[in-house]
């Protein structure tokens, strides 16, 4: 136990290999959730999930709008392909179909920014980190940021992936007939902490699977 106290700060724990055995800290719900969180953080630090954090938005100046959108769709699918082993085939196909819809030249709002690869990498890393079983609705902001929404009845959480693992979130929930809501901007690994008070588990989970 004393070795734990002298252990350097959490970073070295997070960087332990995925299969490493941690000293037992207890078997309660808290310790299980801490273990699950550490497992998720380790996944973010492991290749290829860590590699996609470094993608940059491609500069397509000079190309026509349909060319730009086609190129963006390809680039986004390539990024998802890099972490394909983490996604179920079913959800990957749905994700690709949504990318095609979002990058359709026919439906494009010209004053809006093109979809951002950096935002998309944050989106995928967020999915791998949060490990939801409910599939999110996916949209785009005017700035080309990917937006994920998990809805259950009139309750909902919407998370805008800004990029570089930063997100903007808003959660609204009906409790005892009253709507309560909260919002903020955090690093993606802080999402579970900042929304915990809203008991969001039901928003993120149902019978579907997104991750392999």
């Amino acid at each position: 136990m004393s070795s734990l106290l002298t252990m350097p700060r959490s970073r070295s724990v997070l960087e332990m290999p995925a299969g490493a055995v941690m000293p037992s800290l207890g078997v309660g719900v808290d310790s299980k959730s801490i273990e699950a969180r550490l497992r998720s953080i380790r996944q973010l630090l492991t290749e290829p999930v860590s590699n996609i954090a470094n993608v940059r938005d491609t500069d397509l100046t000079g190309a026509t709008l349909p060319e730009q959108l086609r190129s963006k769709a390809l680039s986004l699918k390539r990024i998802a392909g890099a972490v394909a082993m983490h996604l179920t085939k079913d959800w990957r196909l749905k994700l690709f179909a949504r990318i095609d819809e979002l990058c359709s030249p026919e439906d494009w709002d010209e004053p809006c920014d093109l979809p951002s690869e950096q935002s998309f990498s944050t989106f995928l890393r967020m999915i791998i980190y949060l490990h939801p079983t409910r599939r999110p609705g996916i949209g785009l902001s005017n700035r080309g940021h990917f937006v994920a929404a998990w809805t259950r009845g009139s309750d909902r959480i919407v998370i805008e992936c800004i990029g570089n693992d930063e997100v903007r979130w808003v959660l609204s929930k009906i409790t005892d007939g009253e709507r309560e809501s909260g919002a903020g901007k955090v690093s993606l690994h802080r999402i579970p902490d900042v929304i915990a008070g809203y008991e969001p588990e039901e928003l993120f989970n149902d019978a579907h699977r997104l991750l392999a």
Binding site: K94, E101, L102, S104, E106, D107, W108, D109, P111, C112, R135, G137, I138, G139, L140, S141, N142, V147, A149, T151, S154, R156, V158, E160, R168, W169, V170, S172, R179, S181, G182, A183
Partner: protein, 156 residues
């Protein structure tokens, strides 16, 4: 021309493209719109909408006429949607966040029923979500109104 404020009991319609609303994965029915549907575009000083009751007739007639009016300035396709909100509810939602909006009739080139939500601020995601989830939350397919009037001009 005097300023025409929209009556509290009337409605405004916002045109949505597929990136701004969510469909159910399985049924493909619209689940709702994202708060980002109410973001201002760069350089936009007001939130753009259309006054539904500007046109006579029932709601479906007015929506078909609205679809036509919007199509004078931007492409409206059957894959798109319209969000409908009540004027009083939108003003009340905004005032919860100390945003005192004015919803006025401002005809735009060819778009006779165009309305502007003036003094609107989009920097508070909670306000945008309140609009999306409550005050401006009725989202309908653009296809039925379009089917009543088409074919439509392509965007130049």
């Amino acid at each position: 021309m005097p300023t025409v404020y929209l009556p509290d009991e009337d409605h405004v319609v916002r045109h949505l493209t597929p990136r701004q609303f969510i469909r159910d994965d399985e049924t493909k029915e619209i689940v709702g719109c994202l708060p980002h549907a109410f973001e201002l575009r760069e350089g936009e000083g007001f939130l753009s909408a259309n006054w539904l009751e500007y046109f006579d007739g029932g709601e479906s007639d007015a929506l078909a006429a609205t679809a036509f009016a919007i199509s004078q300035s931007r492409a409206v396709r059957s894959s798109h949607a319209f969000a409908i909100g009540n004027v009083a509810a939108i003003k009340a939602a905004c005032s919860e966040f100390d945003v005192r909006v004015r919803i006025v009739h401002e005809p735009d080139a060819g778009n006779e029923s165009h309305a502007a939500v003036r003094r609107f601020k989009d920097d508070d995601l909670e306000l945008l979500e309140l609009l999306a989830q409550d005050a401006w939350s009725r989202v309908i397919e653009a296809k039925p109104p379009l089917d009543r009037v088409g074919p439509w001009r392509a965007r130049p």
